[in-house]
């Protein structure tokens, strides 16, 4: 289908890093089923390096592809690099997304940040909360009045 780039279709058809990490060091879930997108990211972190990452996604083709690409971009990287991942980088790595699908790349960035925040909290590490998504006023995924979060 011409809606998506070949890269998007490849990551949608053959998503990388699908699954669950049972003893994850950080778990992040963003989105809302009412809006049609939920992403959940599991991180395994050793010595400040993301040694493993898995995802589960409920959503459209670009949501699944964005999750897959985002996990590829942070796997094996230091936490600081994962923190610096932007939605733009995810979309560009996929050779672009249609305008009305860009929110999928935003969700991917936010899911990773949410998982990192969880990692910081679990380990009692200090962090700057303003760097993390706040679902109450995000508005990326859906209309505010539909957002249950």
């Amino acid at each position: 289908m011409a809606l998506y780039s070949e890269k998007v279709m490849d990551h949608f058809r053959n998503p990388r890093n699908v699954g669950v990490i049972e003893d994850a060091d950080g778990i992040g879930e963003v989105g809302n089923a009412k809006c049609g997108d939920i992403m959940k990211i599991y991180l395994k972190i050793e010595n400040d390096i993301i040694v493993d990452v898995k995802f589960e996604t409920f959503g459209c083709g670009s949501a699944i592809a964005s999750s897959s690409m985002a996990t590829e971009l942070i796997k094996g990287k230091p936490v600081s690099e994962a923190m610096a991942l932007t939605n733009k980088a995810v979309a560009e790595a996929l050779d672009g997304l249609p305008a009305h699908k860009l929110h999928c790349s935003v969700l991917a960035e936010e899911a990773i940040k949410a998982a990192l925040e969880d990692y910081y909290k679990k380990n009692g590490l200090t962090y700057d909360p303003t760097l993390f998504p706040n679902c109450a006023n995000c508005g990326h995924c859906c209309k505010a009045d539909q957002c249950g979060q």
């Binding site: 289908m1 279709m9 949608f12 058809r13 998503p15 699908v18 699954g19 669950v20 879930e29 089923a33 009412k34 809006c35 049609g36 997108d37 939920i38 992403m39 959940k40 589960e56 996604t57 409920f58 959503g59 459209c60 083709g61 949501a63 699944i64 009305h100 699908k101 859906c142 209309k143 539909q146």
Partner: protein, 396 residues
């Protein structure tokens, strides 16, 4: 293998319709308004097509206006009845919550102009009752507009009975019959219909052509001003090839409704039975009062666009009421109207069959949908929470 299961969106043109169109492209290409022979031949063809369409619908040929399709016909029908009502000081219109947007958006516009709009509840089965219509009619009501059959879930309304209620109360009754014409026996006269919209490409005719029927005594309001075509009610040189294709397709379809509907509904029921085996799935719309071709399901825990893309990879062409396929944030207004929650409506699938659909294709589609639903559930965090009891199933 490719299987086209999106016949509610549009159909493949029939050979009969194509053959009927061809002579009017390069042989009888005259303008029906011209006085010379080739123009008059086109004019005769136009008259014949009008009579042919009227005969198929059981109405007076003088009530037939050719339009660019169903949307134009819906717009013109509603605006004409509203204009007529307004002149008499009647500004109340009754419709249903799950009409096509060609109807709903026109009603929205009228609401902004001071009309009062009542949208009847279509219930979980996707049906309204004549009693609901009778109860909603008030002295200010100038129009009742109810679709004959729903485009997404295929439910067929009790049109004859609703028409009888409207006739008794002296209110104009319009029906958007775009999904029904050519697939169900329709008789405008016997079914108390005052106005009807249809579109040719839904019954194997060409795209870009349709009909608005309006009975004598209902003056139409022009949407397009210009020449005197269509008794001055729809300006612009008639699209003769398309009109000829439509008339031929309609005659062909109406001539074999009994055999095709028996054949297609048997396949529909087989498909419904097969898809019902998927756990936590539900058929949308009444199982009995539905179009022979329509199958529409919701599957819990998955999203419709990814379902469509993976079915496309397997060669199955289908459609969904998911928000992601519509370009808007909300899922199908039809599924919301029958009470499906947002998260369930996102996981919908419509398969619409035709007489070309085979039993083998139905078997293949059942397997394909089962595979894809099961795969998408395996990567869905929503499904995991449902299975682990962290959230409750909506569809049992």
């Amino acid at each position: 293998m490719t299987i086209y299961a999106d016949n509610a969106a549009t159909t493949k043109m029939s050979r009969t319709a194509i053959e009927a169109m061809l002579p009017y492209m390069d042989k009888i290409y005259g303008n029906p308004s011209s006085l010379h022979s080739v123009g008059q031949k086109a004019n005769e063809a136009l008259t014949a097509a009008r009579e042919q369409v009227a005969a198929c619908l059981g109405c007076d040929a003088r009530g037939i206006t050719f339009t660019s399709g169903g949307s134009e016909a819906d717009n013109q029908a509603i605006l004409s009845a509203a204009r007529l009502g307004q002149r008499k000081g009647k500004k109340h219109i009754i419709s249903t919550a799950f009409e096509h947007h060609a109807v709903l958006h026109t009603l929205n516009r009228l609401e902004k102009q001071g009309f009062e709009i009542t949208l009847l509840d279509v219930h979980e089965n996707g049906l309204i009752t004549p009693e609901q219509v009778a109860d909603a009619i008030c002295p200010d009501t100038c129009l009742v507009t109810v679709m004959y059959a729903n485009n997404e879930i295929g439910t067929i309304q009790p049109i004859r009975e609703i028409g009888a209620v409207c006739r008794e109360k002296g209110v104009i009754f319009h029906t958007d019959a775009v999904q029904a014409v050519g697939h169900l026996h329709i008789n405008i006269r016997e079914e108390n219909i005052d106005m009807l919209s249809l579109s040719a490409h839904k019954f194997h005719g060409p795209k870009g052509v349709g009909v608005l029927y309006a009975r004598k005594g209902i003056p139409l309001t022009n949407l397009i001003e210009g020449g005197a075509q269509e008794r001055g009610k729809r300006a612009g040189t008639e699209n003769i090839p398309a009109i000829m294709g439509m008339a031929a397709a309609l005659q062909e379809a109406c001539g074999k409704i009994d055999s095709t509907s028996a054949q297609i509904s048997a396949l529909r029921d087989k498909l419904i039975a097969g898809l019902s085996e998927i756990p936590h799935s539900v058929l949308n719309g009444d199982a009995v009062r539905r179009l022979p071709s329509n199958v529409n399901f919701c599957f819990e825990g998955i999203e419709g666009e990814s379902l469509l893309l993976l079915l496309d990879d397997k060669g199955v062409y289908a459609s969904s009421g998911s928000a992601c396929t519509s370009g808007s944030l909300d899922p199908s207004h039809v599924l919301l109207a029958i009470g499906r929650p947002h998260e369930i409506a996102h996981g919908s699938l419509r398969l619409s069959l035709s007489e070309e659909t085979t039993r083998e294709e139905v078997d293949y589609m059942i397997d394909a949908v089962k595979d894809v639903v099961s795969y998408l559930r395996s990567i869905s965090p929503v499904w995991r929470d449902l299975v682990n009891g962290k959230s409750n199933f909506v569809i049992q």
